[in-house]
């Protein structure tokens, strides 16, 4: 049954990757990175149980904790960017 969940997560990862490659705005790509991050947390937890080594949940925990730093960095980047150039281009 872990397999079913893993396959669903992997398919979702490929969909997120498609969104990251298609764009069209940079924020779509950031959204895809964020989605990919949560899916990685789920994938790591499921595979830890699939392998019968639940002590490796530490990895998933690490991602759950620091995954959103990237998105906050993007928010800060955009904020500083708009402060500097008043008319930024959002299209990729």
């Amino acid at each position: 049954m872990y397999f079913a969940a893993t396959i669903a997560i992997l398919l979702t990862m490929s969909l997120a990757l498609a969104r990251a490659l298609l764009g069209p705005t940079v924020f779509d790509r950031v959204l895809a990175v964020n989605m990919f991050g949560t899916k990685t947390v789920l994938l790591l937890s499921v595979i830890a149980f699939l392998y019968g080594r639940p002590d490796f949940l530490d990895l998933a925990l690490a991602y759950a904790l620091i995954n959103f730093i990237g998105v906050l960095a993007v928010l800060k980047f955009v904020q500083d960017y708009t402060l500097r150039h008043q008319n930024p281009d959002t299209e990729a």
Binding site: L17, L44, L50, D58, L59, I66, G70, K76, F77
Partner: protein, 328 residues
């Protein structure tokens, strides 16, 4: 079945890499390399390398993206040059790829227990670690004790890279943290209430988890390298939320530089202590009454040194980029 998952992820990895190459907008390339790093971590985990996956998680998710964005803010976020189609590089690269693939047909299959790489020293490490060092995590035992010289060398590479960044980016004039506090851009994300509250809630847990990884590295996946990256990710989050000035008050530059040098010194000091007590350089067995207790003490101290230097270097680099940004 798990092999198929690995194959699927590897295919995604190739697609992502080609996407990175094709991206004109460097911001997009950075975002895609974030995805690339996540995929690498998942593949490492599927291939039984829990420690490596944890390192990739700690480095790739937090620090790498932030540093890249910091550099983009200082330079240019777009490729300006004309798109060139040079046939020579394409031909060379395709030819070499085919040659390397041809060469792989002689390689042992994935997971083949009789592959040469599993025959020589690796079984010895796996058998002797419980007897000689008695920590469950063989990776930590090799990293800190059996191949301590290697790790010392790597640590000095990180140390040197940190010093190099300081040379290149720190401004010689003494505009300290005080002027940073006043500038408007140094406020970070203080106006964004939700990220600020949640972030402040999460930061202590990141640091706590980093300490857990540091001191639990003998028993589970972890150690100084991972812990250093995690703890610096926590402080980088604090700096993003509260602004550079606040973050530099919490961890002053002087402290960070002390950590860079102190960690390396601690590692060398443990080695020298072994020599003074009559053993070899980095021989921990002498450090305590019984060899195993000595090994445990040595590994603890050495990992602590690694953690200090990695944390110090990554945070110093981050602050160097951020301070440059405010000045420009």
């Amino acid at each position: 079945m798990v092999t198929l998952f690995g194959v699927f992820l590897l295919t995604l990895l190739v697609i992502t890499a080609i996407g990175i190459m094709r991206a004109q907008h460097l911001f997009v390339a950075v975002m895609l390399s974030g995805i690339f790093s996540l995929q690498m971590a998942a593949i490492f985990f599927i291939l039984d390398a829990a420690d490596v996956a944890l390192t990739e998680a700690a480095v790739g998710a937090g620090v790498a993206t932030v540093l890249m964005l910091g550099a983009l803010a200082l330079t240019d976020d777009r490729e300006r040059g004309p798109k060139r189609h040079r046939w020579a590089p394409v031909a060379v690269v395709t030819l070499t790829t085919l040659m390397v693939i041809y060469a792989t047909f002689d390689k042992p299959r994935l997971g083949d227990p009789s592959a040469p790489v599993h025959q020589h020293v690796a079984p010895w490490y796996l058998e002797e670690t419980p007897r000689l060092i008695d920590v469950p995590n063989v990776v930590t035992a090799i990293l800190a004790s059996f191949r301590g010289y290697d790790t010392l060398g790597e640590l000095f590479v990180i140390f040197t890279a940190g010093i190099g960044v300081l040379f290149l980016l720190t401004n010689p004039s003494k505009e300290g943290a005080l002027s940073l506090l006043r500038s408007a851009e140094a406020e970070g994300l203080r106006h964004h209430l939700v990220p600020r509250i949640v972030g402040r809630l999460v930061v202590p847990f990141i640091v706590l988890f980093g300490l857990y990884v540091q001191f639990h590295g003998d028993y589970g996946p972890g150690g100084g390298f991972q812990a250093g990256a995690l703890i610096s990710a926590g402080f980088i989050l604090y700096a993003l939320l509260e602004g550079e000035g606040r973050a530099l008050q919490v961890t002053p530059v002087r402290l960070l530089r002390g950590m860079i040098a102190g960690g390396a010194l601690l590692f060398v000091g443990v080695g020298l202590a072994g020599m003074l007590l009559g053993g070899n350089f980095l021989d921990y067995s002498i450090l305590a009454d019984s060899p195993i207790a000595g090994q445990h003490l040595g590994i603890l101290l050495v990992e602590l040194g690694v953690g200090f230097t990695v944390t110090g270097t990554l945070l110093t680099v981050f602050h160097a980029f951020a301070a440059r940004e405010q000045r420009s």
